[in-house]
Subunit: 311 residues, 2 copies
Amino acid sequence: MDTYIAVDVGGTQLRAACYPQGETKPLLQKRTSTFGKDGTPVDRLLDLIATVWPDHATVKSIGVAVPGPTNHKSGILYRAPNIPGWENLPLAQIVQSRFNTRTALGNDANMAAMGEWRFGSARGHQNVLYLTISTGIGAGVINDDRLVLGQNGLATELGHITVLPDGPLCGCGARGHLEALASGTAIARYAAEQLAQGVPSSLSITPNPSARDVGLAAEQGDPLALEAITRAGRYLGYAIADFLHAFNPSIVVLGGGVSQTGPLLIEPVRQAMTERVMSPEYLHGLAITTAALGDNAGLMGALALAESISK
Amino acid sequence: MDTYIAVDVGGTQLRAACYPQGETKPLLQKRTSTFGKDGTPVDRLLDLIATVWPDHATVKSIGVAVPGPTNHKSGILYRAPNIPGWENLPLAQIVQSRFNTRTALGNDANMAAMGEWRFGSARGHQNVLYLTISTGIGAGVINDDRLVLGQNGLATELGHITVLPDGPLCGCGARGHLEALASGTAIARYAAEQLAQGVPSSLSITPNPSARDVGLAAEQGDPLALEAITRAGRYLGYAIADFLHAFNPSIVVLGGGVSQTGPLLIEPVRQAMTERVMSPEYLHGLAITTAALGDNAGLMGALALAESISK
């Protein structure tokens, strides 16, 4: 039997699974924490892969989703903000040498996009825009059945597109990026600012309300919370109009915790996007949907990546 | 002998040329005006192709550059703003049926990008961002050796990305698009507005100064003209930073009349782009250059398209 191994590296947790060729139900699946007393995160990752290695089957290739930008050609992870010391780490080569099996890396947002494209909401589409909206905003684009990677694997960092030139500071240091306006962090920050200015809200009794708290308050009809969600949705819609002009996808998939806010977020997205799009052909037949794979998107994307390199 | 025919359709002029396989020097090249007494623009186009048809050689395929958005799958031209009546025109099929030869269409900016990639400034690159800055702003992107087209051929309309949400109106009806801030039209408009406000300038003696007039005055050190060019360059640089994040090219090629303004435009572009880019990896090894093919870019791109479909 031929199999693939998929690995999802997170800042708190490592996951690995072994899949028979052509199947999405794993033979074996394990997880462990990223940091622990016995070994570095790299050691722990290698050990975890060994625990899902099949006894009586061949592993054709290994795909690894990592939480940071990667170079798809060299298999180097440039950096992982949540894993100290992971800088210019040749992780594909480390795994490949240890297991003598072809290995490729992809950043988590690109892997989630691949997962949704191959196994989730975007199955059957050739041109996919995937956005994940949680603490930050990540993205992945499939153009004509291929992931858009660019020269060094750094393409489709769509959370870092300027939406409002004089807008709030982004985590990356620039002003007015989409991530600084529509991520969970941005929603929570906006609500906190409004509360600090004395805007009345049911949120005033919650210490440091999170984007999730804001979403729940919005569902209860709280005006400040509704405004915070609508505002984020509108900026997201403006940005998506730009992304339609840039990539002309047939489907937009929204993943990440914030996208689970549902219609309160999606409706302003749709409205702002429709307002700003330059011609109706971009909207013709365009699907807008939420991601299907949840926490498994990265792992399933790593499986799709493993499959793609073994061809 | 095998040959290809390339056609460049403009709002005032039609050009066609026949190239031996593997060569960029045409066997035969002809041009005519788009409008005339004898026949519609389609008739004139078909007649022109017939005049460059080789007597003793096979035509393997025909590539046509057109001045408007096209669907690469159906070979339909959605519209050509400068050619009345050309709407949802199945031009690839019309040419293909008439000559019984495989034919493909591409919009002029995409074709110029292909031309520069195969035969011009971007030869040897796999990931190319091409921008043409003249009356409007057009673009084409090569990702991993393929033109980015999207679902319906409408991708990379990068002149219509919002740079300044409350900025000036764009020809497409939206506000603050790149084209409304950095095209030749935008430069001329900005200069006219400043002149109307009484800003002193050597341009005040020129009736309705064009972008070219502004560029020439800037070269002479006129402060208003310099400001108009620098302003356009800065907006272009901000937008290019976004495009680097979106496409991660290894080369940026600037074509179109306005790009010939030279360093007075390119320096502010470079500076603004560097200011706004989120991490230095995007700039590592990045070339910024002007287009090499001039008016031939569309025709050479149509040749590259013809070659690509005959494989």
